[in-house]
Amino acid sequence: MTAERASRTTNDAPTLEAVLADPAVERALVDLLHDLPEWAARLKALGNLLAFAEHLLADRESLTYLLSGLKEDWPPVTLDRETLAALLRLLDKAPRLVALLDKIEPMVEFAVALAEDQESQRYLCESVQSYVAPFKEKAAEAKALVDAIRRRAQEDRTPVGVFGLMKLLKEPVVQELLITLRAAASVLGERKGHGRS
């Protein structure tokens, strides 16, 4: 009987001896044996975990404590058919929602950053004030002028006589006003004439 024939059984399957003689199998076995302590430790840890789960499931008191704690910490959620259907619809729309959020998020984050950035806020406020200041100044000047005129008019209630009127007519401000009035009357007259013809 040759060695080759001896390594085969009657139904032509390789014998254990032949399989062990394969260098690849031998290498794998050595590797496995090398890692065996690690695997044993893992199996032991798994065993401990399973034992813990077994004890926990048997311990009704601990289970009740755990579930009541979770109920207190989590928000009140009703997981019914409607909620699950909404969740599925939300998942279906997730790609579009994420695309939208991606666009909005930078703007929101910019707004949040600005809201927290006091230096930038101060800079903006001072800038706005610098633009508004000249207008405010002019408005204050105009108000002061009107107030002064009103006060003077209230103080001096003497009637304006003919001589007073003639003197007044020589005032450049009054002249300017009258010239403007004359021009306005002339232009308005022309427009009216145009409208009739």
């Binding site: 998020e105 930078p106 703007m107 984050e109 910019f110 950053a113 600005l114 950035d117 230096e119 930038s120 800079y123 903006l124 800038s127």
Partner: protein, 395 residues
């Protein structure tokens, strides 16, 4: 020390890239290091307005610590040596930092010492420069004192950050002279090492008109090489003839020559001119695929501005993350840059363009016109967008 991503430079490019990376991929928290020696972070685009007495200097500076995005590790040191073959950098302190991916965002170097006598001149009271935090207020102080005579504004023949800045201060100064009533007694002269007022023809047309209308003299191909602060003379080299040309001044705004930082020039990352050698579209280094570059220190053929970095950062971040995942680099930078050219108090022309000096305007109107709205955009809104949008990685 080892980090997944090391970013060299905590300026505009470095911080923007770090913030965007951390927003896109939270798992990078603690895996990104930013190497930056400076304790301060500056918003330099406002220095033009500081030099014209419009904005206080204090609003342009913040503590570096405050702009480092949460999740990034700030290493307060400077790079001494790049060893891209070993995926390692060596710091000035001697410490070595290994990386998987490197982003180079170290900015540009001001070569003051290429102008003889500049240090003394900057202390004379008649000379200023909007190009450094320490010298920008000198510009306004000298301008306030100016009562007439020769006002010189220089620009070197090297690449500079914000190519429009040398003339922005000139337009503002000229406007300030008019407001003060001394313009008739002044000569305003722009002396540049370049060949033209602006490279994009559409915007150059407006600037040439302004220069003509406001009676500003222009001298091109003249490079400032020395200053005599005692005689108040600026010495230029005529780049055509090689002759030395002396010009007296009563006010002088100097733009220093600029180049890539020395530690980049001397590294394997540099091209022949010393800049980080990156692909102009993907921003990936041409020889080291795990290295990317952004901003002023790169050889990208476009203007070196913060606006350019704003468009480069998302491209770099997209391509860097793709490279990490082993995917192709699909994002492409088109060379976008913007130059808000302040032409006077309350006036600005917003130049925007892409590679090839092709205008690429954002707003639905002719941006080659000077506008108050664009001035408000630069002065009021862009600083806010910078601090709260760009540096946060959201804009």
């Amino acid at each position: 020390m080892r980090f997944k991503i090391v970013i060299v430079g905590g300026g505009t490019g470095g911080i923007t890239v770090a913030a965007q990376l951390l927003r896109r991929w939270r798992a990078l928290s603690g895996e990104i290091a930013i190497i930056e020696p400076s304790e301060k972070h500056y918003y330099q685009p406002l220095w033009t307005l500081v030099g014209a007495g419009i904005t206080p200097l204090s609003v342009t500076v913040r503590e570096e610590e405050r702009v480092i995005p949460p999740g990034a590790v700030w290493i307060r040191d400077a790079v001494e040596l790049f060893l891209p073959g070993e995926n390692r950098i060596v710091l000035k302190s001697g410490e070595s930092i290994a990386y998987d991916w490197l982003v180079v965002a170290a900015g540009i170097q001001l070569d003051w010492d290429k102008i003889d006598g500049i240090r003394e001149a900057l202390e004379s009271g008649t000379v200023g420069s909007n190009y450094a935090f320490d010298t920008v207020e000198k510009t306004w102080n000298a301008l306030k004192r100016f009562e007439g005579g020769m006002a010189l504004f220089t620009a070197p023949n090297t690449p500079v950050k914000c190519g429009g800045a040398p003339q922005k201060i000139m337009y503002l100064a000229e406007d300030s002279m008019r407001r003060k009533g001394v313009r008739a007694k002044a000569t305003v002269r722009f002396v540049s090492g370049g060949t033209m007022i602006f490279s994009v023809p559409k915007f150059a047309a407006t600037l040439n008109r302004i220069v003509r209308e406001r009676n500003i003299e222009t001298h091109f191909r003249h490079n400032l090489v020395a200053l005599d602060p005692v005689k108040q003379e600026a010495i230029f080299e005529n780049l055509e003839s090689g002759d030395r040309v002396r010009m007296p001044y009563d006010f002088l705004h100097v733009v220093p020559p600029q180049s890539a930082p020395d530690f980049i020039k001397e590294s394997p990352l540099a091209d022949a001119a010393g800049w980080v050698d990156v692909d102009m579209h993907t921003l990936q280094h041409k020889r080291y695929p795990n290295v990317f570059g952004i901003g002023d220190n790169t050889n990208l053929p476009t203007a070196r501005t913060g606006a350019a970095i704003r468009k480069q950062a998302p491209v770099l971040v997209h391509n860097l993350l793709a490279a990490i995942r082993g995917e192709p680099l699909s994002a492409r930078y088109n060379g976008y840059a913007s130059c808000p050219l302040v032409t006077g108090y309350g006036r600005l022309m917003l130049a925007e363009f892409v590679y090839g000096d092709v205008p690429s305007e954002t707003f639905p109107f002719d941006q080659a016109k000077e506008r108050f709205s664009m001035y408000v955009l630069k002065k009021e809104l862009l600083p806010i967008i910078y601090w709260d949008g760009m540096l946060k990685g959201v804009m």
